[in-house]
C-alpha cells in the first residue's frame, strides 16, 4: 500500500498540514516583547497557591514566518463560492458581487457608531429606511423589520409577532402546523416560542395534503409555517387555498422565505395569502454565508400586524430627516441589540439597488432555468422522485444500491472534481439536493452535469473508486462513524518518540 502512505503525507500542492502544536520548536517565538518598565511580580505572591499550575501550559512555540505559513496554508484550503462550484441545495450558495463589499466598506459606514446622534447618521438611516421599504414591496406586505440577525432569528421574531397578534385578540393559540418537508428550524422555532409544532402530511407529489391540513387546523392553531417553493424544490400552487383554510379558522400563514430565490419579482407572498415572512439575506440578496454569522433575517408583515413589529424602527419625519421610533405599545420589543446586522444589510441594499426590479426577476428566472436545465441533463442517470418542473433546486436519488454505492459515496467523489457536495439524505431518503443558483455559467453547469454522469457510470462499473473517494485530498475517506461515536477533540502531546510518529 505505498500509495496509501504517500496519500497520508498529502500530495503536491495540498500537503498534509501538521497541527501547530506539532510544529513547535522549543524557544522559538513569533513576537518580541519590549523590556518591562515595571518590576516583575512574583506569581506565587499574586496568584493563590491553589490556582497555580505546576508547569506552564504546553503552548506551541513557533517563529513568526512559520506561524504565518501555517495559517496561510490552512487558509488556502478553504472551499468557497469564489473558488469553485458549490451546489449545496437549500443553501443558495450564490456568488457575492464584490461591489457589495466595496460599498459596505465605505468609511462613512464602517466608521459609524451605533450610539451616534441621528443627525450624524442620516445616510445609514435613509439606507435602512429604503431597504425596509424594498423588502416589504418584494414580499407584497405592508412593513418589515431589519432587526433579526439570522433566518431562524427571523422565524422566532415572526412567531413572537403571531403570538402577540392572537393575544391582542384575547386568544392564546398553542399549536403551530409545519408541513413534513419543513426546515428543522420551523418546529424548533415553535418550541422556543412556547408553541407545539404539529406536522402536516405531504401528498406523493410533494405538495401539502389539504385534507390533512383541514383536519389539523382549528381555533387552537396559531399559524402554519410553510416554505414555498418547499425544500424539495416544488412550488405548491395550492398556496392561496392553504391561506384560505387557515384564515377561516383565524390562523395566520407564515412563509419561511428560505426559497425566495425562486420567486423574486414573479410571485409576492403577500399576494398569495402570507401574513408574516422572513428573508434570509444570504440566500436571496447575496450577502455572505457567514458560517454562523453575521447574518440578517428581516421579517415582513401584512397590514394590521405592523404594531407588533420589534422596535425601534427607522422613520422618515415630516421635515425629511430620518430617526428612530417605536412601533407602539404592542410591539414585541427589541429582538436584538441596536438595529440589526448593519454591515450585512448594506450589502443586501447594494444588491437590490444594483439589480432593480427587472434584475431581481431575472435572478429567479435564471435560478429556476439553471435547476431545470441540470435536472433535464441528469434525468436518465439518476432517479427523480418528483415530476418537473422544479423551482430553483431539485432532488434526485442515486440508485446504485445493487453496486453498494450510496449518496454519501457520490457526494464524496464530487470532492475529487473540486465540486462541493450537495445537501444529502434530506428531505427524501438517500437523495441529493442540488441548487445551482442563477450565478453559474452554462459552462459550469455542463461541467457539473458531465461529472455527475461520469460518477453514475463509475457507480455501475468501478464502485470501489466511489467507496474510497475522495482520492485527491490529503486524507482519504475519514471514518466518520468512529469519529462520531468516540470523538477525540483534544490534542495531547504524543508519548511516542517524534521520529516514529513521522514515519507512519
Amino acid at each position: 500500500m505505498s500509495n496509501a502512505s504517500e496519500k497520508s503525507q498529502g500530495a503536491g500542492l495540498v500537503p498534509a498540514e501538521k497541527l501547530i502544536f506539532e510544529q513547535t520548536t522549543p524557544g522559538a517565538c513569533a513576537v518580541s516583547l519590549p523590556v518591562a518598565d515595571v518590576p516583575p511580580a512574583d506569581l506565587r505572591k499574586v496568584i493563590p497557591q491553589e490556582l497555580l499550575a505546576e508547569a506552564p501550559p504546553p503552548l506551541p512555540e513557533i517563529g513568526e514566518q512559520d506561524l504565518v505559513r501555517h495559517y496561510t496554508r490552512l487558509a488556502h484550503r478553504l472551499f468557497s463560492v469564489d473558488g469553485n462550484f458549490y451546489p449545496l441545495g437549500s443553501c443558495t450558495m450564490k456568488y457575492n458581487p464584490k461591489v457589495n463589499e466595496r460599498v459596505a466598506a465605505l468609511p462613512g459606514f464602517t466608521g459609524l457608531h451605533p450610539l451616534q446622534p441621528e443627525a450624524d447618521s442620516q445616510g445609514i438611516l435613509e439606507l435602512l429606511y429604503q431597504l425596509r421599504y424594498f423588502l416589504a414591496e418584494i414580499a407584497g406586505l405592508a412593513e418589515a423589520t431589519l432587526q433579526p440577525c439570522a433566518g431562524a432569528h427571523g422565524e422566532m421574531t415572526g412567531v413572537m409577532i403571531i403570538n402577540a397578534y392572537h393575544r391582542s385578540r384575547g386568544e392564546d393559540r398553542p399549536k403551530v402546523l409545519t408541513p413534513d418537508t419543513a426546515h428543522g428550524t420551523n418546529p424548533a422555532t415553535c418550541t422556543v416560542c412556547g408553541r407545539f409544532a404539529i406536522s402536516v402530511a405531504s401528498r406523493p407529489d410533494g405538495r401539502v395534503d389539504l385534507d390533512d391540513l383541514r383536519k389539523k387546523v382549528d381555533e387552537q392553531t396559531a399559524a402554519l409555517m410553510i416554505t414555498n417553493p418547499n425544500t424539495a424544490g416544488l412550488f405548491d400552487p395550492q398556496i392561496a387555498d392553504i391561506a384560505e383554510i387557515l384564515h377561516a379558522k383565524g390562523a395566520l400563514l407564515y412563509l419561511d422565505g428560505a426559497n425566495m430565490n425562486a420567486i423574486l419579482g414573479i410571485a409576492r407572498p403577500g399576494d398569495f395569502g402570507v401574513d408574516v415572512m422572513h428573508y434570509n439575506t444570504h440566500k436571496t440578496f447575496s450577502t455572505p454565508h457567514g458560517c454562523g454569522g453575521p447574518g440578517a433575517g428581516p421579517v415582513a408583515v401584512r397590514e394590521g400586524l405592523q404594531e407588533f413589529l420589534p422596535g425601534p424602527q427607522v422613520v422618515r419625519r415630516e421635515d425629511g430627516t430620518y430617526g428612530w421610533a417605536w412601533p407602539g405599545p404592542r410591539s414585541i420589543g427589541r429582538v436584538r441589540s441596536f438595529y440589526g446586522q448593519i454591515g450585512v444589510l448594506i450589502r443586501a441594499y447594494a444588491y437590490i439597488r444594483a439589480l432593480g426590479p427587472e434584475g431581481l426577476r431575472q435572478v429567479s428566472e435564471k435560478a429556476v432555468l439553471s435547476a431545470n436545465y441540470l435536472a433535464a441533463r441528469l434525468r436518465e442517470h439518476y432517479r427523480f422522485p418528483f415530476a418537473p418542473p422544479y423551482a430553483h433546486e431539485f432532488i434526485m436519488v442515486p440508485e446504485f444500491r445493487e453496486h453498494g454505492v450510496t449518496e454519501l459515496d457520490v457526494a464524496k467523489r464530487l470532492i475529487d472534481f473540486a465540486i462541493h457536495p450537495p445537501t444529502m439524505s434530506w428531505p427524501v431518503a438517500h437523495c441529493l439536493m442540488i441548487e445551482p443558483t442563477e450565478t453559474e455559467s452554462l459552462r459550469t453547469l455542463d461541467g457539473f452535469a458531465e461529472t455527475m454522469i461520469r460518477i453514475a457510470e463509475e457507480a455501475r462499473t468501478t464502485p470501489e473508486i466511489l467507496h474510497h473517494a475522495p482520492h485527491t485530498m490529503p486524507v482519504e475517506r475519514l471514518d466518520e462513524v468512529t469519529a462520531a461515536r468516540k470523538p477525540d477533540l483534544c490534542w495531547r502531546e504524543s508519548t511516542e518518540p517524534a521520529e516514529a510518529a513521522d514515519n507512519t
Binding site: L408, A484, R485
Partner: protein, 127 residues
C-alpha cells in the same frame, strides 16, 4: 435484512412495541436502522420519566441524520437500555433484540391495537 419479528407491533414511524404484561419494550426496526445508517448516539429518557402517547421520547442520531423516537403508548419509563450509551451500534447490529431502547409501564395499552403487525409492516416497507 432481518425481517420484522411477529411477536410485536409496529408503528408507521418504524418503532416496534413488544408487550409483556403491563410493560412495553420499545425499539426501532431493522429497516429504520438501515435507513439511518451507522448510529452514533441514542438519547433516551431516564427511568421514572413519564412519556406521552404520540409524542417523542428520545432522539437517535446517525452519521446521516437525527430523528425523533416516538411512542404509541404513554406511561412511566422503568428502564432504558444503558448499553446504548457506549455501544449505539447495537441498534444497527441487533435492532430487535440487544438494541432495544426503553421499557415502559403502560397505563393504557389500547393505542397498540391501531398499530401494524409484522406482515403489514413488512408490506409497508416494501413499497
Amino acid at each position: 435484512m432481518n425481517p420484522a419479528p411477529a411477536d410485536r407491533k409496529y408503528s408507521k414511524t418504524h418503532e416496534w412495541f413488544k408487550v409483556d404484561g403491563d410493560v412495553v419494550t420499545i425499539g426501532i426496526s431493522q429497516f429504520a436502522a438501515d435507513e439511518l445508517t451507522d448510529i452514533t448516539f441514542v438519547d433516551l429518557p431516564k427511568p421514572g420519566t413519564q412519556i406521552v402517547a404520540g409524542q417523542p421520547f428520545g432522539e437517535i442520531e446517525s452519521v446521516k441524520a437525527t430523528s425523533a423516537l416516538y411512542s404509541a403508548v404513554g406511561g412511566e419509563v422503568i428502564e432504558a437500555n444503558a448499553a446504548l450509551a457506549d455501544q449505539p451500534e447495537l441498534v444497527n447490529q441487533s435492532p430487535f433484540d440487544e438494541g432495544w431502547m426503553i421499557k415502559v409501564r403502560v397505563s393504557d395499552p389500547s393505542p397498540l391495537e391501531g398499530l401494524m403487525d409484522a406482515t403489514a409492516y413488512n408490506a409497508m416497507i416494501q413499497e
